[in-house]
Every structure is written in structure tokens, then in C-alpha cells.
Subunit: 345 residues, 4 copies
Amino acid sequence: MTVRFGLLGAGRIGKVHAKAITSNPKAQLVAVADAMEQAAGAVAHQYGCTIRTIEAILRSDDIDAVVICTPTDTHADLIEQFSRAGKAIFCEKPIDLDVERVKACLKIVDQEGGTLMVGFNRRFDPHFQAMRKVIDEGQIGEVEMVTIVSRDPGAPPVDYIKRSGGIFRDMTIHDFDMARYMLGEEIDTVSAQASVLVDPAIGEAGDYDSVSVMLSTASGKHATISNSRRATYGYDQRIEVHGSKGAVSAENQRPVSIELANAGGYTRPPLHDFFMTRYTEAYAREISTFIDALETGSPANPSGLDGLIALALAEAAVRSVNEGRAVKVSEVTGGLAGNSASPRQ
Amino acid sequence: MTVRFGLLGAGRIGKVHAKAITSNPKAQLVAVADAMEQAAGAVAHQYGCTIRTIEAILRSDDIDAVVICTPTDTHADLIEQFSRAGKAIFCEKPIDLDVERVKACLKIVDQEGGTLMVGFNRRFDPHFQAMRKVIDEGQIGEVEMVTIVSRDPGAPPVDYIKRSGGIFRDMTIHDFDMARYMLGEEIDTVSAQASVLVDPAIGEAGDYDSVSVMLSTASGKHATISNSRRATYGYDQRIEVHGSKGAVSAENQRPVSIELANAGGYTRPPLHDFFMTRYTEAYAREISTFIDALETGSPANPSGLDGLIALALAEAAVRSVNEGRAVKVSEVTGGLAGNSASPRQ
Amino acid sequence: MTVRFGLLGAGRIGKVHAKAITSNPKAQLVAVADAMEQAAGAVAHQYGCTIRTIEAILRSDDIDAVVICTPTDTHADLIEQFSRAGKAIFCEKPIDLDVERVKACLKIVDQEGGTLMVGFNRRFDPHFQAMRKVIDEGQIGEVEMVTIVSRDPGAPPVDYIKRSGGIFRDMTIHDFDMARYMLGEEIDTVSAQASVLVDPAIGEAGDYDSVSVMLSTASGKHATISNSRRATYGYDQRIEVHGSKGAVSAENQRPVSIELANAGGYTRPPLHDFFMTRYTEAYAREISTFIDALETGSPANPSGLDGLIALALAEAAVRSVNEGRAVKVSEVTGGLAGNSASPRQ
Amino acid sequence: MTVRFGLLGAGRIGKVHAKAITSNPKAQLVAVADAMEQAAGAVAHQYGCTIRTIEAILRSDDIDAVVICTPTDTHADLIEQFSRAGKAIFCEKPIDLDVERVKACLKIVDQEGGTLMVGFNRRFDPHFQAMRKVIDEGQIGEVEMVTIVSRDPGAPPVDYIKRSGGIFRDMTIHDFDMARYMLGEEIDTVSAQASVLVDPAIGEAGDYDSVSVMLSTASGKHATISNSRRATYGYDQRIEVHGSKGAVSAENQRPVSIELANAGGYTRPPLHDFFMTRYTEAYAREISTFIDALETGSPANPSGLDGLIALALAEAAVRSVNEGRAVKVSEVTGGLAGNSASPRQ
């Protein structure tokens, strides 16, 4: 079986997926669309695919699935259109910045019976997957407390931040998803605090750059998240899960693992400085998982509902900061049943 | 100069201090008092000091300073008595479980102009002190976020828990003090969540065994604390401080640092399983610092006010759990000026 | 510029190079040859190249360079033939098991003015290259002592061992090359000891499975090598260089870097268990370096002379074991000038 | 039981033992002797013991055991005298720099039936002892290869070096003993190479500062030793034992284990810079073991024979360097039976 792909959006992340698709023996990149002619052309040239408009891809019989890497504010509309056109959909997170818009979109996906997978790349990192496996094997007993530290090497441009939906929806959303993935249980309440320590311009744009979050589940499990938009030492991505019988953690990754010893001490090089080099393998596994889901007819995972829940957690965090209180997730979701979401997988 | 000591309480922690005093060339252990004759006798025999009653020590001209290791509910009274008697006082934390009682006690210490140092042993751990030095040297720039993970190998007896004032006043109190020590700024708000995951009997006793805390300062600095009464892998004591120019952290300590490699992987032994072996050096440095303060006439540090503030943070955490909201520390302290406290030193 | 490749030998290592060639934008895989039709067919099918005989490749105008991955006893002949045919040559180590045969072969390469690069893949490992860079930058001062530990997860089949030329020529040869690469100075004497500890069948085949080597240079620098054909914990590949101002080392590599903590201690997974996954990136960089040399017309590196010297060191080690003495390398090479070899690069 | 000690020599290492003795509840320091009145006085004052001459100690009825920390050239004579006087003896290594003199001395000890323990402090390091325990439990299977890296932070004064017997007898001797301890089998041959890289003055004094050693046992086990008189990064003391089922190693020790992360990477502090702080615990355990041997009447361990064998290995190493060949240990010892030595314990 070969899955024939259309790529919507040929920017930075679009190129990552183009490479993943063309490296996968079960996939073929048929067409690329991008409002910027040059971007589409670069992908078409490098991987030998055609350039089409989004509308043309929508009507293309030789395309089975699309990867949506266009700007966030187009995601929900495109998901609805391609869902109605019977194409399988892989969409970069988030589906939309507004919880209600996402709900409406997912309703249509459900009605059409389509396949929608949301791009939470970290679930496909080999190290985090290995942690999940250790947990599933019962090696740490019952999960009790998840500790996530996630720091970017530097803040994105303020222009980007203004359109991003804020740090909780843009950055912490990945950690919300990882907290669910590791806890294996839906989150019940969210407490958050936020400040501007890195760049006043971020504050002027109405956002924060340093946030802490506490999460709790109905059974009393905990997760904490620590985020900063600055880390001089690289892309800091650590997760630790403490359980009744032990704990498991993933170390930070660095491109070169040597150690220099001298009178100043023992020094190892900084971490990866970019999410794309840090998560190279994760992106490849992500597309491969999407293809496998299409091949086997099994549900795509993480699903649209996973995307919705992570967004709802971000929304709850914003409320918690604004109101200085622990916010129930159900206040945001309206008690949305989590039964088809996939915290674990 | 030789400081002549009386030891009040010859239990577990009393013995630790007896050893520290007798190993210190500037100190002499003159007398020990304990309601349990056998306990006092053991110390007297091992270190060649006399056995006296607390009242006798209070009136002893050959005693300059006392170390209070009696049960918590006696601390405040003893501090007041020995303060009035003109003895320098080192008191194990906490001064009392009640914030108002502590305030009243400290008022008397202030009136008497006495010396009172409170036993937050972790401030004297060589590794945490080295972190503080790195911070003071500006090597990580401005402190932004402190992350503390602190887990006990196992829970104390439920009988102890009932008298302990609860996990925040008994266990987290050390982490509150370390958060202040590392942040170098007073804490403004406390958010906490708590649950019972380790032992239902702890819940039945009205306490928790698993807690998470978020702290923020007026300038927007963050600290998070993760506590559990259970850790199969040993006494887990990690602190990490992230700043504008870098980060510094202290690794866990183990009694033996070997590594076994085989088909199952690479294994290092568990951590220290007891706070006394983990903090052996800290206890020695603590008493030494107390003696140095007496010798130089400089203020004892951490002070009674440091003890009060840590207790207030615990009280705020309890309120936060009960009320599901971020609690201002000033709600507890009544706006107590922090100007003579010593978050840094 | 595009380098058009012919691949001689489509076995295990041939496939590695086929992948590296076809992933390199400056290279094209035109043809493959293998005595086993099926092996050639698999490569041809996967990468869309033609199948030809070695003789046909020799005469092909559309081929600029060959990669020789055939059995060792064919290497020298093929190098001579393709050198005469004006093709650039990348040859897997060793050129031959006999020092004199290698000398004769290299003479012809020199006469023809051809390009010959020998496959010491470890020089292209990112971690070892980063070490070399640290040394070149003077960060450890003058190199003084190199310590190499190199252990295979398991021994190859005895049939392979019989044809391998023995452990020094088959396995230690890589470490001899790394010792030269890190020392940055030619080796003067070799002392070795060897025994059979892993498998008596290896001894019956006339070989060893556990060897130690000491090397010294004219200026008094040292290197030690420790080899075993068995390591339950994976593919153990460590190098450490001690110098006048410091030291630099490369840690072992593992596919997954998580840590599990429990009552048994802290466990990280075993190392890579196969040289191909351990050195994936090195193989890609190796072919890329070969192509760059062709593009820029600079000398291929490591050169045929590098291959010869490593073989001479192996020969000297064999003599040292047999005669129980330190053997001068010049006894083997006949004082071959090392001036065009490249210990550093 | 209380062992009453006389301390012969109150220099640097004498003070270490004075502290160990006085901290041990089963021991009493009765008297100290030193040619330097001031040195003896300092110990007498600090620990409340008497000052006596060596002759007086020899005749003292209130002394059960002596610790010999005088200059090396007095050791053998003192051992003989105190052995005849029926005192138990702990002697710092080496017994003498000359193998024949040591043999003669041990003969007298044997005749007198006295107790003689030799100060190889590393056997009492908690980490190396834990390694030995792992080996004894069979966790790494059969021991195959021992790798020792041992580097001093800096070279001793040339005056010391001139009297030291050379690096093999002064420094490597510890590693020879550790190789025996870890191999658990007597060493059969020694190959060594040596050079002067650190300080030409050391060469002018007839000694080396950088040496490598290979050892083999009758059954084909290997050990390698790498020594340097210089290490900018501290006191480098690593041992690794590879066996049929796994490997075990001891990490280097540092006084403070924090990690600083910034744009330059992740830095841990240098190692201990002095053998006394590195081996503090080992010295305490060493004296404690000596006392236990006296208490139980079991043989002292490491014995005089262990001291002799380590010296013979050093002698063999010197010959190997001078003659460029592998030297049989039996050439030096004259086939001395190793049956009462204790490679393992």
C-alpha cells in the first residue's frame, strides 16, 4: 500500500513533513500547495512532486491524505473541507485557538467519519516513548507525579507571539499533552502562574514568557510544568514520572556527547538548540504512525479530541492566571466526555 | 574562644548535634538534658558530659548556649526561657506549629536581644551552598525559576504524622526555606494541591502524602515544589535554579558511586536512604556556623524570622489547598516586614 | 557537480554505502555489482540503479568513482584495476592483510595519480571528530596519553575469524587508526598481549579474543588499547585523550537515553548493540567527505598510506605477542616515511 | 577490647592515622614519636596523648600496636624491632624500596608470628570495596580485563622524587595492588613503557612522570594502568573491571556535585585535588580493619606479602622499560609462592 500525500503549506514545518513523507517507503508525496510560490517550488523541486492549489488538491483523485501546515487560523476550515472530501488528515497543532471552534470542527470530522491526527510530535520521541513503555510494563507501579521542565533556547519574534494565542496555547500545549500522555488519566484541575521575565515586549504584547502549572487528576495524581522562553544552554526538554514503585525520566539530548576536563571542571556541550534537530526522529515516527493508522484502518492517534483537550487545558491555565484560582477543566470543556481521547497513546 | 553547650533533648537529632558539637574544636558539650534518663545517659557516657535537668541548665553559669531538640510543642517556651536567661539558642525547626505563637516568641527574643538560630539544615549542605555561591557570583544571571523535588524514602509513623502539623509544616517547610534561599526574594503568593497516594492511613489522620506547590515573588520569579512521602530509590533531594544567563543544579547523593553494566543496562546504586547520612556534613557545618556567629557577634542565620516565614508559607499552602486559590503570604503574616529575614543566607 | 558511483559488493556494508550515496545530493548511484545476483538485485531495486559486472563498471564511462565492499582478498587487485582505469576509489579497510601486498598496491595508485580513500569510519563519528576539534583548538594542551576501550557485543563466527587476519588486523586496526588520529604523531613502538577468554574455538582457530596494547611515539606520548570480543552491555566504544592542560573523552552511545530508578538503583539502557546503528552518522559523513575530496581535488583522507600504517601496527602487535617484546614499527614498515599519512585528519 | 596505639611519625600521613585512631571507639592513642619535636607535640596536644621516643614505645607495656609513618628507609628496621617486641604493626607502604630487604624483613615477621598490615589505603575505599563485592557476588561473571587510570593533580617536589624509588615504586605501586585486588589472581608478566612529559627535572632525576603498564595472569586475564603526574582536573582515580557477564566501574569523586549550565555547556566542578580528601573514608576504614583483625585474631590484610608482591611488580616494570620486553614476575621474586598473599581481600 502506498499513501499518496498532498502537503498544504511548505514553510519550515511543512518541509520537515515533506522529508518524512518522501523517506517513508509506504508514502508518496504527490503535490504541494503554498501561497508563497517559491516555497512550494522548493519542495516540488527537491522531492519531485507537482505544485497545485489547495482547491486542486481538494479535488485530486490521486491524493489520499493531506498534511496541514498552513497558518493556524486556516486549520479548522481546511480540516472541514478535506474531511468532507474524504481525505485523511494530519494537522499540525493547534486545530484552532478557540475551544468552541475546535468543537464545531471535530463534530464535522465525526459526522464524515474521517481520519484526523493532530501533530503532537513529542509523543513520537523515542525517549518519551520508551518512558511510556516502562510505565505500561508496570516498572514504576502506579503513576503518581509527573514533572515537566520545558524551556526554549529563545523567544520567537513578538509578531509571532501576537498571533500565537499566548504561551499556554503555543508552547505549554505540548507539555499539557505530555502530562496527559504520561499520567494516563484525564486532568481535572489546572492552576497556573505566569510572568514576564525574559522580554518586556512579550508583556506588552499581552503574553507571558515564564509560566508554572500544576495539574491534578480525579484520583489525586499530580503534574507540574515549568516553562521559559529562554534557556542559554539549549532546548531543555525533560520529563520525569514518579510512581509507587519507582521513577523514570528522559535526559536532555545534545548533538555531541563529549566531555572536556580541565582546571575549570568537567564540561559537556550545550543541548540541541532547535526543536527540529531535537525531534528529528519524532517527526519521522509521527508520519509513519499516521500512515500505519491509514493502512490498518485503526484510529489516528493523537486524535482531534486530544487536540481539543490540550487546548482546553491551555484555556483553563489562562483563566487560572487571571482569576488566581484552581480551574476545573470541565468549566472549559462543558464536561466533554474524554472517553474517546487517548491520554496514554 | 570555646562555646560551652547544653543539649536539650537527646533523641535522634539531639545525638547528631552532640556529635557535631564535640567534633568542633571551638565547642564543648557541658551538659545534656532529656526526660528519658537512658537517652541522656547515652550521650553523657559517649561524650563525657554531665546530665542535668533543663531547669539546671537554665541556671548554669558554665553554659553559654543551648541546642533545643525537644518535642516541637516545647520549643517556644524554651526559647523564651533561655532567651531571658541570656543563653544563645539554636532551635530545631519548627519554633511552633502556630504562626501567632511563633510571633509572640520572637517578640520576646527581640526584647531580650538574644541570639536565636533555627535549624534549617539544608542551607548548610555543601552542594546547595555551592549553588548559592554560583548564583551570588552572577554565573546564572538573574534568578527566574526554582524547581525543587524532595521525596522521602518512606512515610513516618502515622502517630508522628498526627503530631507533625501536617506535611506542609513538617516536610515542605524545608523546601519553602530552600525556595527562599535560592530565590533571594520574599515569596508573595502560594498555590498548592495535595492528595493521598501513598497510604490511606495518612489521609485518615487528616494529612496528605503527595503535594505540589507553586510560589511566586513580587517581581514575578517562580518556584515549584514536588513532595512525596515515598521514593523507592532513596532520599530524593534535588534543586535546580534557572536564571537569565544559565542554570545550576545539585545532583542527588548516593553513599556508593559505582556503576554495574550488563545485559540489563547500566545501573548505579540507590540514593542515601536516610536524611542523617544524606546531610551529615550539613549538620556539622550548621553547628559550626552557629558557633561562628556567637564568636563574631554577628546575627544567627537562619533566624527566628526565617523560621516564622517558612511556617507562614506552610500555613498559606494549607489555605490554598482548602480554598482552591492562590494565597497571599501577607494574609497569613499580616504583612510582617521581611526586612530582617535572610532569604539568601 | 554530481559524482556517479559504482558499488562493488552489495553485502552488509555495501548496503550501508548505497544508502549513504543515494542520500547525498551530490552523488548518484549508477550501478552495482555483486557475485550474488540477489544481493545486487536488492540494491538495484531499492535505489533504482543498474546491475553490472565489475568488469563492466571498470569500462563504464558514466561512472566516476567506485566503492569497494568486496571480500578483503580482492581489494588490492580491484584498487589497482580501477586506479588504472582512472576511477576514484573508496575502499573498505583493510586493503590487504599483507603489508608487502599493500605497499605494492599503493605504489601503483601513486603512479596512476589516482584518488584512494580507505574506510576508517570512526574518523567520521561526530563525537570523535568533536574531540579532535577540541584538541586542535589547544583546549587540552599537548596530547600526552590516549586511552581506548573498544569491545564488541559478541564475537563473529569462527569462519569469519579464520579469514579475518586475526583480531589485531580485523578489530584493533580501527583502534590503531584512532590512536594515530588522536595522538597526532606517528607511533614508534608497539607492545601487545593477547589471550582467549571468550571462546576456546577462537583460540583453536589461531586467534585471540581479548587483547591489550601499549603504543608509544618518538616524543614519548602513550596510547593504550583494550579490546574484547564480548560485552554484554553493548557496543563499547570509548576514547579519552589526556593532555597537559586537560582531557577530553567521548561517552558511549545508546539508542534510548532514559533512566529508571527503583529499589535496585538507577538504570540506563544498554548501548547500541551493532556497529551500524552506532556509526550511522559516521558512514554518511564518510561518503560525504570522499565526495568533497573529489569535488575540491584535495587528497582523500584517510589515505592508502593511513591504511598501510594501521596494518603495520597490527603486524607489529602480532610480533610483540609472539616475541614478548616491544616492537618498533619501522621493523615492519622498513622505515616507510610517514610524511604523506594523515594521523590527524 | 581497646587497642592501645603508638604512632611512629607525626607528619602528614601520621596525622591522618592519628585522627582515624582517635575517632575509633575501639582504639586509644597512647603515645606519639617523631624526630621533629613540634610535629609530635601537635599530635599530642590535639589528641591528648604522650610524647615518647621510638625506643620508649618499643618498651612500653601500655602499647599493643604501632602505626609506622616514618620515612621509608626506616620501615624495615622498625618492623623487625616491633615485631620482636611483640607489637602488632600497621606500616605505610612501601616496606622498603628493595625486594630483597623486604623479603628478609618479612622472614623475621613470620618467625616472630607477628601481625603486619601494609597501608594500601585504596582497598578500603567504599567505592572500590563495593566493586569488589559486586565481583564476588558473581554479578560480572569471570573477571577478564581491569582498566586503571590513576593520575595525580601535580608532581611532588623533585627532592621527594629522588628518594621515592621512582614512579613505579611510589605511585604505580597502588595501582599494582588494585590490579591484584580486582583481578583476584596473581600477575604473571609485566610490560611497561615510560616517558617524561610533565617536567624535564623529573627526567633529570632519573625518573618518569608518564607511564603505561600491561599486566597478564597465568589464565590470560589482563590489566592496564595509565599513570600521569599531572591532571589539571584533579585527582583522577578510576577503575573498571570487565567480565564475562558484565562490567563494574567506580566513578571519580568530587567534593561538590553541582552542575552549571550556560551557553558554554554543562559544567561540573573538578575532582578532589588531594589524596587525603579523596580517601578520607578509606583511611578510617583501614585502621578500623586493622583493629578488627587484632580483635578477632585473623590475619592482617593486606599483608606484608601483599606489600612485597606490589613492590616486585614495580621492579618488574622498571626492568620492562629498561629492556623493552615483557618481564615475568618470577624473575624478580624468584618464584616466591603467592599462597599467603591476598589479591582479593
